[in-house]
C-alpha cells in the first residue's frame, strides 16, 4: 500500500507543492486540490508558526466516497490511490458529503469533482508525485505506507491518518497536535477515554472500522442500518443520533432508516421510539 507522509514540522510554507500539483494536472482553471496554510501561536517574541499543505485527499483505505458514488466514478486502486473517472462523474457531489473532510472540489465550469489523484499517471511512469518531488525541504515523502508510518511514529508525537476514518494513505506527522493545522478529530468523543492507552484506542478504532466495513456478505449500508437498530434497542439516544447522521452522509435514504427503526419497535416497543427522538429530529431536518 502506497502512502505520502507530510512532515508538518519541516514545511516552510513555500507553496511549491500547490503550484506543482496544479501544473501537473489538467484541472479546470478555478480548481486547486490542496492548499498550504500557515498558523501562528504565542505572543511576540515567543511565537511559533506551523505550515502545511491541507485540504487534500486523504486516500482512505476504506473510502467513503467510493461507497457513496452512485455512478462508480470513484475507485480505490490496488496500491492505494483513490482516483476519479471523469467520464462517469456527473457532479452529484455525494462524495463530497460522504467524505469526512468534504475534500473533493466541485467545478462550476465542468460540473465534475476533482481531487488529488496521487499523481497516478506519474506513478505509472515510475515517478513520484509532483508535490513530493518538488518540495525544497523534503517535507513530503512517498513510499510504502507501513514504512512511512513506522518512520513517522519513531520521530513524531502526533500522527494523523493511521486510524482516522479507518486509516488513510496520506499521513500527517508533527510534534504539535495536528488540530493546529485544521485537521479535525474524527474519533467519537468517548474514544478519548482510551487515549490513556493508545494501543487500546487504536485497536478499538480498527475493530470498529473492520466491523462496519463493506463486505461481500453485507453491504456497508446494511451494516449502518443494523447499528442504528441495535443502539435503538440498547436505549442509547446519542448513539442512535450519531449513527443516523453517519448513515445519511453516506447516502442511506431517510425512508430506509425509518423502515429499519420499525424493527427496533418490534423488539422494544415504545421505548425504542423514545430513544429515537433525536434521530427523528435529524431525519426531519435532512428532508
Amino acid at each position: 500500500m502506497l502512502g505520502i507522509l507530510i512532515n508538518v514540522d519541516e514545511c516552510i510554507g513555500c507553496h511549491a507543492c500547490e503550484v506543482a500539483c496544479k501544473n501537473s494536472h489538467e484541472f479546470p482553471k478555478e480548481i486547486m486540490v490542496q492548499r498550504v496554510v500557515s498558523v501562528e501561536e504565542g505572543n511576540f517574541p515567543s511565537v511559533k508558526a506551523l505550515h502545511s499543505p491541507v485540504e487534500r485527499c486523504m486516500h482512505c483505505l476504506d473510502p467513503a466516497c467510493v461507497s457513496a458514488c452512485p455512478f462508480g466514478a470513484m475507485t480505490k486502486t490496488e496500491h492505494g490511490p483513490v482516483i476519479i473517472d471523469h467520464e462517469k462523474c456527473t457532479g452529484c457531489q455525494l462524495c463530497v458529503k460522504a467524505c469526512p473532510w468534504h475534500i473533493p472540489k466541485f467545478s462550476i465550469e465542468t460540473r465534475k469533482v476533482y481531487k488529488c489523484d496521487f499523481c497516478y499517471g506519474r506513478l505509472q511512469d515510475g515517478l513520484s508525485p509532483a508535490c513530493v518531488e518538488v518540495c525544497p525541504v523534503g517535507a513530503l515523502k512517498f513510499g510504502d505506507r507501513e514504512e512511512l508510518l513506522k518512520e513517522a511514529k519513531a520521530g513524531k508525537k502526533y500522527i494523523y491518518g493511521e486510524v482516522e476514518a479507518g486509516g488513510t494513505s496520506l499521513i500527517y506527522a508533527s510534534n504539535e497536535p495536528l488540530t493546529k493545522i485544521g485537521l479535525p478529530k474524527l474519533f467519537p468523543e468517548e474514544l478519548e477515554i482510551l487515549a490513556v492507552n493508545p494501543d487500546a484506542q487504536r485497536a478499538f478504532a480498527e475493530f470498529r472500522t473492520a466491523v462496519l466495513k463493506e463486505s461481500k456478505t453485507l453491504p456497508r449500508k446494511v451494516k449502518r442500518l443494523l447499528t442504528i437498530v441495535a443502539y435503538a434497542v440498547a436505549g442509547c439516544e446519542e448513539c442512535v443520533e450519531e449513527c443516523t447522521k453517519e448513515a445519511l452522509s453516506e447516502g442511506v435514504k431517510r425512508n430506509e432508516i425509518l423502515e429499519a427503526l420499525t424493527v427496533a419497535c418490534l423488539v422494544k416497543g415504545g421505548s425504542a421510539l423514545n430513544t429515537c427522538k433525536r434521530a427523528f429530529k435529524i431525519l426531519r431536518e435532512k428532508v
Partner: protein
C-alpha cells in the same frame, strides 16, 4: 502529466530566470512547441532538483491572457498597434533629436544636465541574461545616460559596495552548498525560506548535521519558524549589534591572530578605541533591543565555532541610510574572526543580488589598468550626472526621455516617480518594455512587448548564486511579436549611432573620418590614418613603461588634435585591438570588426552567442583575449575572457567564476572556485604556496593606489591593505553605526503614543511576490499564500481600534501628498512597535486584494551619505483606520 516517451516532447535544460536570482536548474518540458511542464533538475549544484512556487508558475507568466504581444503607440489617451519598424524608427528619431542638444561634444565634456537627458532602467534581473544585459550598459555609456535606476542596485548597492571596499571583491561568497561545512550560521534578516526558497535546503542540511542556525529579524518570518533560535531586533540596527559582538570578542581577545596581514595597526587600534569601545553590550541592548546577555552569548558561540562561522545578511541591512557602514562592519567582523577563505565560513548570501554591471571582480585591477572603464553605475564614475532614483523628482526638468525595458520604477523606486513620469509623459519620451500591462504603461508613449523567461536564451554570470556561469536556451520561440530586450536595444542603438564612429570622443578625429568618407575613402582608411599607423609606436612605448595618456598627448600634438580629447581615442581598446578582433573573427566566422563604428551593427545577426564575443569589447572586464591565447585558438571551447569553458557551460553545466584556464587544463573536473579568498588573483596561489600562513587571500591591493607606483598587484607585498579609514571611499572614515535617518523619538521598545509617528515601518517580500515583468498579474501566484496586508501586532491594533482585515491608512512624513491604504493583518509575529508592509504590490494588480498604491509611495527617500543608496526600509509612521 507529460510522458517523455511521447514523440513530440522535448526537454529544454536551463536555469530559472523567472523571478529571483537564485538561478535554479530548470527543465522546461515542451510538447508541440508549448511548455507544458516545469521540472527541477536533479544534481544541479544550486537547486538539486527543487523549484519554488514562483519558478513553477513560469508557465502562467508565459501563457498569461494578460500578455502584451505587439508594439503599441500612444494616440491621445489610447494606444494603437504599430509595427516594430515604425516604433523603433520613431523612438530613434526622438532620441537623435535629444542628442542634438549636446551633439558635437565628446561625451566626456558633457555637463551634468546633458547627462540627465536620458534616463534608463537597467538591471540583469529583467534582462534575458547577464551578458545580454550589458547591452544596456553599453547604450548607457554611449549616451552617458547617467540617471539609471536599477532595482538590484537599490536593494543591494550598499551590500556589495561595502564588500568591495573592505575585501576588494563585491561578491565574496562561498557556494551555497558549502554551508554544510559551517559550525555556526548567523542570518541577519535574509528571509531565505521565502525569498530564496530552494536554497533553504542547504541550511536544512547543515542543521541536520547539528549546526545551529540563528536568525535575527524584526519579524518572525517563515525562516524564523525553522531556525534553531530567533532573535528579534530593531530595524536598521544590525551594525550596532555587530559592534556589540566585536566589543565582547575584543574584551576576551577572541580575535583572529593574523590581522596584521590585512589592517594597518594604528588604524585598527583607532577603530577599536574610537568606535568599538563605545558599544558595550549594555548600550547595544538599548539600541537594538537585543539583551546584553544574548550579545555575549552570540560572541561566545562565534568564538567556539572558530573560523567556520557563516554570516548571511539580507537586503534590509543594505537598504538603510547606514547601509554602507553596516556592510563594512559585517566584512570586518568576518576578518576579525578569520571566517573568510574557508569552506563553511564568511559571507554566505544565497543570491547576493550583486549587480556587477562592471563585472570587475578584481576591483583594484581594471580601473587602474584600463582607466576608461570603471563602474558604469557607480555615482562617482558618472560623477556630476548621477543622482539616486529618489532624487529624480529634483532633476525631472532636465530629463527628456526614459528607456525602460522591463522594470517598474512607479511601484519599485523610492521617491515621487509618478511626478517624474507624469512630467515625461507630457514633455518627453517614455518607452516601456514589458510583458504585461503594469503601472508604467499609463505613462508610456511606446509599449514594446518583451519575451518572458521561457522564451529567452541567455546567460548568468556573477549576479547569480554561487557566482555561477550558466547558459539557457529559450524553451519556446517568442509568442506574438515579443522580442528579447537585447534585440530591442541593439536595433535602437544601430539606428541612432549608425553613422558615428568610435573616434567621436575626439571631435578632430571624427571630423577627419567624415572628410575621408565624403571623399570616397573607407573606414579602413580612416582607421589606418588616425591610429593604425601609430600602433607599432604605441605598443613599443607602452612596453617601455610610458603611460598611455602621455603617448596620446604626444600623438595629438603631432596630429594637431586636442590632447584632452584625443587620449580617449588612444585609450580605446576596440580601436587599438581592431586587427586582432578581425583576425579572431575570421577564424570563428563572426564578424568582430566593426570598423571603428560606435555601435557593433552586425553582432546580433549572429545570435545571442555572439554576445560573448563582444562582451569583453563592450566592457573591458578583466583581461582581453590576447592573440595566441587558448580562447583565441579555440573559440567554441573557451569563453572569450577569463578562460571559462563555454562548451562545458552550454553542456548542461555550471561553472563558478572565477575559473582560470590553467586550473581547468590541469583538472578536467575543475569548475571554478567554490570558496572565496582561497587563491590570490594576481598569481592564483594559495597563501601557504606564497610562504604565508593559512590565511584568506583578500583581493585588495598590496598597497594603497598611488599615482607614482601605479601598483595594484594583490599580495605582492605579502599582505592586503584594507582601507579601514575609508579614504578611498569618499571619506567614509572608520566604519561606524549611525541611527537610521527615520527613527521614532523614543528608541525603546515601548510605543510613545504622543509622537506624531510612533511606529517603525519596515518593508520586505512575501513568498509569492517577487520582481519580474509580471508583478501581480500571474493568476496562479495571486491565489496562494497570504494577501499583501500590513502586519500589525494585535496590542497595537487594539490601541488603534483596528480589527483584522480593516482598511487602514499608513501615514508617513510623505503624507498627506502620498498616502497608502492597505488592509491590516493582525499578527503576533512582529514586534508591537514595528509594522511590516510587503512590497511588490501596485494599483494595476488584477486582483483587488493586491491592489494599492505600492509601499514605495510612502517610504523614505533619505540617502546613505557615502553611496547615495536610498535607505527606504526603515521608516517612521502611524496607522489609522480608513474608509475605502
Amino acid at each position: 502529466m507529460v510522458k517523455e516517451s511521447e514523440k513530440n516532447v522535448e526537454l529544454k535544460y536551463g536555469y530559472c530566470r523567472n523571478n529571483c536570482m537564485l538561478h535554479c536548474g530548470r527543465i522546461a518540458v515542451v510538447r508541440d512547441g508549448r511548455v507544458v511542464e516545469i521540472r527541477g533538475w536533479k544534481g544541479h549544484p544550486i537547486s538539486d532538483g527543487k523549484l519554488c512556487a514562483k519558478g513553477l508558475a513560469a508557465i502562467d507568466d508565459t501563457y498569461s491572457p494578460n500578455r502584451i504581444l505587439y508594439p503599441m503607440k500612444r494616440v491621445g489617451d489610447k494606444f494603437e498597434r504599430v509595427s516594430w519598424g515604425k516604433a523603433l524608427d520613431e523612438i530613434a528619431e526622438k532620441l537623435r533629436e535629444i542628442r542634438k542638444e549636446w551633439d558635437g561634444k565628446p561625451l566626456h565634456d558633457m555637463t551634468a544636465e546633458e547627462m540627465r537627458r536620458i534616463a534608463r532602467y537597467a538591471t540583469p534581473r529583467n534582462s534575458c541574461g547577464e551578458a545580454e544585459f550589458l547591452i544596456y550598459m553599453r547604450f548607457g555609456r554611449a549616451f552617458k545616460s547617467a540617471p539609471h535606476y536599477s532595482g538590484c542596485v537599490a536593494c543591494n548597492g550598499n551590500w556589495w559596495r561595502a564588500r568591495l571596499a573592505v575585501t576588494g571583491d563585491e561578491h565574496p561568497v562561498n557556494t551555497v552548498d558549502t554551508i554544510v561545512d559551517s559550525k555556526l550560521i548567523l542570518d541577519f534578516g535574509y528571509n531565505i525560506a521565502e525569498t530564496a526558497v530552494v536554497a533553504f535546503q542547504w541550511i536544512r542540511k547543515a542543521m541536520d548535521k547539528g549546526v545551529e542556525f540563528i536568525y535575527i529579524d524584526p519579524r518572525y518570518t517563515k525562516t524564523a519558524a525553522k531556525a534553531s533560535e530567533y532573535i528579534p531586533i530593531r530595524p536598521g540596527t544590525d551594525g550596532a549589534l555587530i559592534l556589540g559582538i566585536m566589543y565582547v570578542l575584543i574584551e576576551n581577545n577572541w580575535i583572529y591572530p593574523h590581522l596584521q596581514y590585512y589592517v594597518d595597526e594604528k588604524e585598527y587600534q583607532d577603530f577599536v578605541e574610537k568606535i568599538v569601545k563605545n558599544y558595550p553590550p549594555e548600550k547595544v541592548e538599548k539600541i537594538t533591543w537585543v539583551p546584553a546577555a544574548k550579545i555575549k552569548e552570540l560572541a561566545q558561540k562565534i568564538h567556539k565555532a572558530g573560523r567556520k562561522v557563516a554570516i548571511i545578511s539580507g537586503s534590509r541591512t543594505s537598504t538603510q541610510t547606514n547601509g554602507f557602514n553596516t556592510g563594512r562592519l559585517f566584512a570586518i567582523l568576518n576578518l576579525m574572526i578569520g571566517s573568510y577563505g574557508i569552506s563553511g565560513g564568511g559571507d554566505y548570501n544565497p543570491k547576493p543580488g550583486v549587480v556587477p554591471s562592471h563585472y570587475i571582480p578584481w576591483a583594484a585591477a581594471a580601473p587602474h589598468k584600463y582607466p576608461e572603464f570603471m563602474y558604469p553605475d557607480d555615482p562617482h564614475h558618472w560623477g556630476k550626472g548621477w543622482v539616486p532614483e529618489a532624487a529624480w523628482p529634483k532633476i525631472k526638468d532636465q530629463m527628456k526621455a526614459y528607456i525602460g525595458l522591463g522594470g517598474n520604477p512607479i511601484v519599485r523606486a523610492a521617491g515621487d516617480q509618478r511626478g517624474v513620469f507624469e512630467h515625461l509623459k507630457k514633455n518627453g519620451l517614455v518607452v516601456v518594455g514589458t510583458t504585461e500591462w503594469n503601472e508604467m504603461c499609463d505613462y508610456a508613449h511606446y509599449i514594446l512587448p518583451l519575451t518572458t523567461d521561457l522564451e529567452s536564451s541567455g546567460s548568468t554570470f556573477l549576479c547569480s548564486t554561487n557566482r555561477a556561469v550558466q547558459w539557457k536556451d529559450a524553451a519556446v520561440p517568442p509568442l506574438g511579436e515579443a522580442k528579447p530586450d537585447w534585440w530591442v536595444m541593439n536595433e535602437l542603438a544601430h539606428r541612432i549611432f549608425g553613422d558615428e564612429t568610435m573616434f567621436r570622443e575626439c571631435p578632430d578625429c571624427e571630423k577627419r573620418v567624415k572628410e575621408i568618407l565624403s571623399q570616397g575613402g573607407t573606414l579602413d582608411n580612416a582607421w589606418e590614418e588616425l591610429i593604425g599607423r601609430y600602433l607599432d609606436e604605441i605598443n613599443t612605448r607602452l612596453s617601455k613603461g610610458e603611460k598611455i595618456d602621455d603617448i596620446a598627448a604626444d600623438l595629438a600634438k603631432r596630429m594637431g588634435h586636442d590632447p584632452s580629447n584625443h587620449k580617449y581615442v588612444i585609450r580605446n581598446i576596440e580601436l587599438r585591438y581592431r586587427l586582432e578582433f578581425k583576425q579572431l573573427g575570421e577564424k570563428v566566422g563572426f564578424d568582430l570588426d566593426n570598423h571603428g563604428l560606435l555601435w557593433p551593427y552586425n553582432v546580433f545577426k549572429q545570435g545571442p552567442e555572439a554576445i560573448y564575443w563582444y562582451w569583453w569589447k563592450f566592457n573591458m572586464i578583466l583581461w582581453p583575449v590576447p592573440p595566441g591565447s587558448p580562447a583565441e585558438k579555440e573559440p567554441e571551447k573557451y569563453h572569450p575572457f577569463s578562460g571559462l569553458r563555454l562548451d562545458i557551460v552550454k553542456q548542461k553545466g555550471v561553472v563558478y567564476f572565477p575559473a582560470p584556464l590553467i586550473l581547468m587544463e590541469k583538472d578536467p573536473n575543475y569548475r571554478g572556485e567554490k570558496v572565496a579568498f582561497e587563491k590570490c588573483p594576481g598569481c592564483w596561489k594559495k597563501s601557504t604556496e606564497m610562504g604565508l600562513p593559512d590565511i584568506p587571500i583578500l583581493w585588495t591591493p598590496s598597497e594603497r593606489w598611488n599615482g607614482k607606483t601605479e601598483s595594484f598587484y594583490p599580495w605582492k607585498a605579502g599582505r592586503a591593505y584594507i582601507d579601514l579609514k575609508g579614504e578611498t571611499w569618499n571619506g567614509a572614515s572608520l566604519p561606524e553605526w549611525t541611527e537610521p535617518v527615520e527613527s521614532p523619538k523614543d528608541l525603546s521598545e515601548k510605543i510613545d503614543w504622543s509622537e506624531e509617528y510612533p511606529l517603525i515601518m519596515t518593508t520586505g517580500k512575501l513568498t509569492h511576490l517577487m520582481t519580474g515583468h509580471s508583478q501581480n498579474v500571474n493568476e496562479l501566484l495571486l491565489r496562494i499564500d497570504e494577501k499583501p496586508f500590513v502586519w500589525i501586532h494585535p496590542s497595537t491594533a487594539e490601541h488603534l481600534g483596528i480589527k483584522d482585515g480593516d482598511m487602514v491608512k499608513i501615514v508617513t512624513p510623505r503624507s498627506p501628498k502620498n498616502d497608502l491604504k492597505m488592509r491590516a493583518k493582525l499578527t503576533a509575529l512582529i514586534h508591537p512597535k514595528v509594522v511590516f508592509v510587503p512590497t511588490h504590490t501596485g494599483p494595476k494588480a488584477i486582483s483587488e486584494d493586491f491592489r494599492n498604491e505600492g509601499v514605495m509611495l510612502v517610504t523614505s527617500t533619505a540617502e546613505d551619505p557615502y553611496t547615495k543608496m536610498i535607505g527606504y526600509s526603515t521608516n517612521i509612521c502611524r496607522v489609522e483606520r480608513a474608509e475605502r
